[in-house]
């Protein structure tokens, strides 16, 4: 007879439970099974009779088990009592469920426990130390009353909790008890377990815990603290929970992960995971290794799942992730830069920027004709098309798609008041956007154009109005983008410093000094051009104070010469 006894709580997939029970008994470990009272009587008797040929399998008194209710504790108590009575050799009692599966040979577990005859394996932490509580209740589990089911009557549950908080209602915790919580799956020594079960004050404790919320996570965890000589505060059962406190389920494709975990028992196993049951329940003739359980890798896999479910991938919009305004955690997936007025001021700005930063530099992505992708492409990563109608049908999807499709590669694009403006709020709210604006630079192409002056004047007025509106957006309190704005006059006076700042921020690895400057267009006569606009009653205030004679301060600027910074 083994020194390890198994208590098994079962409510569905009885055939699997029987398989596992026989696996335990084959190694000499007695099993006492508790079948939920809710299981149909006929199913129960069939189950009992199919196990009846095994003298090591017994059944205990049945209780109704509701999630979060007292029934599970009552079930554990009666099953533990009967296993301790019927099998006097048992030193450790292991509480498991019907969907638990032993991963290592039973004898390894028996040896492991024999080497630690005094240790109680039960996760047990004070309420201040746990972070995983469902519904945000920790100490209040012990001090409030919970007559309504959390799963079935959530509203009643919540409002009754609120009411009790409001009234300052408190239940008294029995003297000597310090509330502890932890995983409901434990392995306790006979000494500790009998001390709990035969405690003269057990009635008092039971009456108290009957009204505690989710007592199966606190009854034994709290009482073991009173009697145990050596508590090892961890569960030998590998069990991971999702963000709603439901156990994760293991499938056939977890086989390798489970194998490498070196855990003794895992839950929950999907009842149809044939390969898992087949693999772990056949006689494993592995060499006896006394490795410590090491669930690290599994922890990571499931932690990732929780992260994905609660936070998701930034900048991704799809059929199962469509955040409300303000809940996006980042409107796009990767940083990018928007330049306004630069390609108007410099002859070869786009190729220069590409060389200086290594980023992919597009033209006016929101140009009225088409999206001007880098290199004149008509489609780009993700088969994103350059069609203006398609783009303007959903401009935010266009930008978020572009950035998502090219994540890992910095994107830069030109923007201006002549472009479609529907995207402004999105860019302004996006913390990944770096927006650099030289205001009034739209006047340069007009200045160099061959249009009639009356048309130039009208166009200038239109563009100025659009840019003014855009600047209001960029200036709003909701703007999260990194915005830099210069008037054209400011910028032209000393262009290298702002350029350097912007390029440094894009960060290509090493902060290189700009050795080559882009060529600025010839602005000779621009001052006069602006004055003519003013004389016609159109005041181009966004350009800034541009001198009429193109002379800044004392010295004359030679616009055609490139600027070199030492």
């Amino acid at each position: 007879m083994s020194t390890l006894g198994i208590v098994m709580l079962v409510h569905t997939a009885l055939d699997r439970a029987e398989l596992v029970a026989r696996h335990w008994t084959a190694a000499g470990c007695p099993v006492v099974i508790h079948v939920d009272r809710k299981v149909h009587e006929e199913t129960y008797t069939n189950f009992v009779s199919s196990c009846s040929d095994d003298p090591l399998i017994l059944f205990s008194e049945r209780h109704v088990c509701e999630w979060g209710g007292w029934g599970i504790v009552a079930a554990s108590q009666s099953a533990a009592t009967s296993i301790l009575e019927r099998f006097p050799d048992v030193r450790h009692v292991y509480l498991s469920s019907g969907s638990c599966l032993p991963l290592r040979p039973v004898l390894e577990l028996v040896d492991y426990l024999s080497e630690r005859p005094r240790e109680d394996f039960i996760e047990s932490a004070t309420t201040a130390d746990v972070s995983w509580t469902v519904g945000g209740l920790d100490l209040e589990r012990f001090t409030l009353r919970f007559p309504f089911s959390w799963r079935k009557h959530r509203k009643l549950f919540d409002s009754y909790v609120k009411l009790q908080r409001l009234l300052g209602f408190r239940r008294k915790i029995p003297d000597g008890l310090v509330p502890h919580m932890g995983s409901q799956w434990w392995c306790l020594t006979r000494q500790t377990l009998t001390a709990i079960l035969q405690d003269p004050k057990r009635k008092v404790y039971d009456r108290y815990f009957r009204r505690v919320w989710i007592p199966d996570e606190s009854y034994f965890q709290t009482l073991a603290r009173l009697y145990s000589i050596h508590i090892e505060s961890r569960s030998l059962t590998l069990s991971k929970f999702d963000y709603q406190g439901r156990p994760h389920i293991f499938y056939d494709d977890h086989l390798q992960l489970l194998r490498r975990s070196d855990c003794f028992v895992a839950r929950k196993i999907w009842p149809h995971a044939d390969r898992l049951y087949q693999t772990f329940l056949t006689d494993q003739t592995e060499a006896m290794k006394l490795a410590e359980p090491n669930p690290g890798k599994i922890d990571r896999v499931f932690a990732k799942a929780v992260e994905r479910r609660t936070r998701g991938r930034d900048g991704l919009y799809m059929q199962s992730r469509f955040p409300r305004h303000g809940s996006e955690n980042g409107l796009t997936s990767f940083p990018y830069s928007v330049f306004q007025g630069f390609s108007e001021l410099f002859e070869d700005f786009e190729s220069w920027l590409g060389n200086a930063t290594g980023a992919r530099v597009h033209g006016h992505l929101f140009g009225p004709e088409r999206a001007e992708f880098a290199g004149g492409e008509t489609t780009i990563n993700g088969a994103l098309s350059d069609g203006a109608k398609l783009r303007d049908y959903n401009p935010t999807a266009f930008v978020s798609n572009l950035i998502w499709n090219t994540r890992g590669e910095r994107q830069c694009f030109q923007f201006g008041p002549a472009d479609t403006q529907k995207i402004n709020w999105f860019l302004a709210r996006d913390k990944n956007a770096q927006i650099s604006v030289v205001t009034g630079a739209w006047a340069v192409p007009l200045f160099r154009s061959n249009m009639n002056f009356a048309d130039i004047r009208n166009e200038a007025a239109r563009l100025q109005q659009i840019e003014t509106k855009q600047l209001e957006v960029l200036d709003s309190v909701w703007t999260k983008a990194k915005v830099r704005i210069w008037t054209m006059a400011e910028f032209v006076e000393s262009p290298m410093e702002p350029l350097q700042t912007v390029i440094d921020e894009i960060g290509t690895g090493q902060p290189a000094h700009l050795s080559e400057a882009p060529t600025m267009v010839d602005l000779t006569g621009f001052g006069k051009f602006l004055q003519n606009l003013k004389n016609q009653g159109m005041h181009p205030y966004l350009v800034g104070d541009f001198p009429v004679d193109d002379v800044f301060g004392a010295q004359t600027r030679q616009f055609r010469k490139p600027y070199l910074v030492q």
Binding site: H272, R308, G312, Q319, S320, P323, T379, A383, Y393, A397
Partner: protein, 328 residues
């Protein structure tokens, strides 16, 4: 909304008279069977692969409505032991494009079952579908209290012209059309029913470049734990009650979702489009098919150098076209 739902229910019950049982194997449906519902017309060439694909996935029983096929579809289906077949001679269009029929059958046979409603050219993909049967998914959805599962329709296309991708009965259609668009989908929320409205993909890019608002909807909710109160409202794009359309997370997280690979853009499309044009039985006065027919004359090629070649569900999950969500 309740009124709309009731009207739909009433409508489908009224339209039940148009359904004549052809082969009734519904007695074989067990209480935990996972079902599949589909309305077909002249799909004989697609059915053998379709059935074997979904049998492998773990579908226990198929419910088919045959609408006036003359290519042996009905005969073929009635030979299958796990198929129940009804025939409907009446107008597809006047039965809300077949929806009334499937709503009725779902109400009658799929109550408290998980049921997948798909067209014969749609192939369901979900996380871990290569290692876990559909029962694993539905059990998990049950345990998390979820009653509907969202997907996106992904149009698959060949490398060359559509007409040159010749499909042979029984073959995997994605052997000849393994390409898809990975990142040009546009989403907005439909305030009436609360579902997402997804457009984009190759058909938008090639056929609807100039009127993108007319591009077909790609959002689908094909897998539902059915209840007699439920109805599909517009294809499988949306359901009532509205809560069932909430298959997406609005607070930044990702719910678990899948995809429907769409084997439409192969040589069968031309025939289909011609046939549907003469019948004029499709949505928006068959405008979609008219567009196809016109465009097909030009031998359209959907493939571009940014097309992705389909490998498996993990690829789709990395591309952001579906999500494992909380299922690990």
């Amino acid at each position: 909304m309740r009124l709309r739902r009731k009207r739909r229910l009433l409508r489908c019950v009224r339209k039940r008279r148009e359904l004549k049982p052809f082969k009734d194997n519904t007695a074989n449906i067990q209480s935990d069977s996972v079902l599949l519902m589909s309305v077909v017309r002249n799909e004989k060439i697609r059915l053998p692969y379709f059935l074997s694909y979904y049998r492998k996935l773990g579908i226990d029983h198929f419910l088919f409505v045959d609408n006036n096929s003359d290519d042996g579809t009905a005969e073929y289906l009635s030979e299958q032991p796990d198929v129940s077949l009804w025939s409907a001679r009446a107008s597809y269009k006047r039965a809300s494009f077949g929806l009334d029929w499937s709503n009725y059958l779902l109400r009658k046979y799929a109550r408290d079952h998980w049921v997948l409603t798909v067209d014969p050219d749609e192939f369901f993909i979900y996380p871990f579908c290569d290692t876990r049967p559909i029962r694993a998914l539905t059990d998990w959805l049950d345990s998390t209290g979820v009653r509907s599962f969202g997907t996106m329709l992904i149009d698959m296309y060949p490398e060359g012209p559509v007409q040159e991708a010749v499909y042979h009965e029984g073959k995997d259609p994605f052997e000849i059309s393994p390409w898809f668009d990975s990142g040009n989908y546009m989403i907005s929320k439909n305030p009436t029913y609360g579902n997402l409205w997804i457009q984009g993909g190759p058909r938008s890019r090639v056929f609807f470049q100039d009127n993108p608002e007319k591009a077909p909807a790609l959002n689908k909710i094909p897998l539902v734990k059915w209840d007699k109160r439920y109805v599909y409202v517009s294809s499988t794009h949306s359901l009532l009650p509205r809560g069932l359309n909430q298959v997406y997370d609005e607070w930044g997280g990702e719910k678990t979702s899948g995809a429907l690979l769409h084997a439409k853009l192969i040589d069968i499309l031309g025939e289909k489009a011609r046939e549907e044009m003469t019948r004029n039985q499709h949505y928006r006065a068959s405008g979609e098919y008219r567009a196809y027919l016109e465009q097909l004359e030009d031998q359209p090629v959907f493939w571009c150098k940014w097309s992705e070649k389909y490998i498996n569900w993990r690829q789709l999950e990395i591309l952001g076209l579906m999500s494992k969500g909380n299922w690990a």
